[in-house]
Symmetry: C2
Subunit: 186 residues, 2 copies
DNA sequence: CGTGCATGGCTAATGGCAGTAGCTTTTTGG
DNA sequence: CCAAAAAGCTACTGCCATTAGCCATGCACG
């Protein structure tokens, strides 16, 4: 019996593939084990259980999105940067709709996820810097941005819009509305 | 062995209670049966299986929300009606956070849910009537309203906002921003 | 009043899944 | 070369959904 040469990250990778192919509800240790060519109990050598695996997938997804954010914001500022962030958000979700459903919405409440959540936050904060918002205003603004990006993304990825028609236009209008709601900046 | 006197609606009611108390992930035929004081297989006399039960719960939740919408919109019009709808949406979700997670986001794609989904839609359409939007504009507008209401509600009900502080203010700003994005109306 | 039959409940059994225990083989480090 | 950690495995338990088939209930009608 040769060794499969697994690792925690390899198991997480297999889990993400299962989610991409069959949806987040199909994430099961049995399915991951099958994909890894291993018996289910063997996974416990790399992962504490299904709960931990889900957390690790959450971390992975949060970080992937943070990477996209960082890419999108790079070399831009002001409204341009915000627009790029919003489009990066949507692009990630449309590229991996099922994966998005595995992203925890409350990362700051779980220590294992907090770091990845904060990475996203920092990119957004940086993009908002030109507006010189006071701390309370910054919180409000980030919340509103999240509401719009997450609201649109979760509806789109779940097929919540009746017709796919003109969705680009809808999203663009939302971004514009959000930007218009910000105070003028230098 | 006396009869429990169940019915499909009684089973759905028990399912909703299980969700309210233990979250949507705890919705299991075993839990519903226990709450009904019945063995699990007996539920199949009233419900085709777990999948159908979930659908029926979805219908129930969609209709409850549509009722709240109708109440809120009654006797109001224009921006006042929209504001009332948005607050009714949030009030329902904060009153029953777990139940909201059981509400399907794509009701129009499943025949069993479509009627309940359309009820909601019609109330929103009526509230938007004063703006005399063309059909395309109406679709865009309803989408944006949904994005904001659902985005906020799903984040709030899932604990997605770091601090509960000033959430009323955040939501009010979103409503105002949305209303400002509409063309002036008579 | 009885009786028959649809209804609503039950127990038993199957198959899928997570998770645990304990064994065997591989790999690695000294 | 050998010992021990690491990475597999099989066997087992317990929970859940679902199916099959049995039995009591209670209503509808003679």
């Amino acid at each position: 019996m040769p060794r499969a040469g697994l690792s925690t990250q390899a198991v997480v990778q297999a889990a993400v593939e299962v989610i991409d192919e069959h949806g987040v509800a199909a994430l099961t240790l049995a399915a991951v084990a099958a994909r890894c060519g291993v018996a289910a109990p063997s996974l416990y050598k790399h992962v504490a259980g299904l709960t931990e695996l889900k957390t690790l997938v959450g971390v992975r997804v949060l970080n992937e999105l943070a990477d996209r954010f960082a890419d999108a914001a790079m070399g831009r500022s002001g409204a341009d940067a915000i627009t790029a962030l919003m489009h990066a958000y949507r692009a990630y979700v449309t590229a991996h709709p099922a994966r998005y459903a595995a992203m925890p919405v409350d990362p700051l409440h779980q220590p294992e996820l907090a770091a990845a959540g904060i990475r996203q936050l920092e990119v957004i904060q940086a993009a908002l810097r030109p507006w010189r918002l006071d701390p309370a205003g910054q919180i409000q603004t980030i919340r509103k941005l999240r509401v719009i990006a997450h609201g649109f993304a979760s509806l789109e990825s779940a097929g919540g819009f009746g017709l796919p028609e003109d969705l680009d236009e809808t999203y663009q209008q939302l971004i514009t509305t959000f930007l218009d709601s910000l105070p003028a900046h230098p």
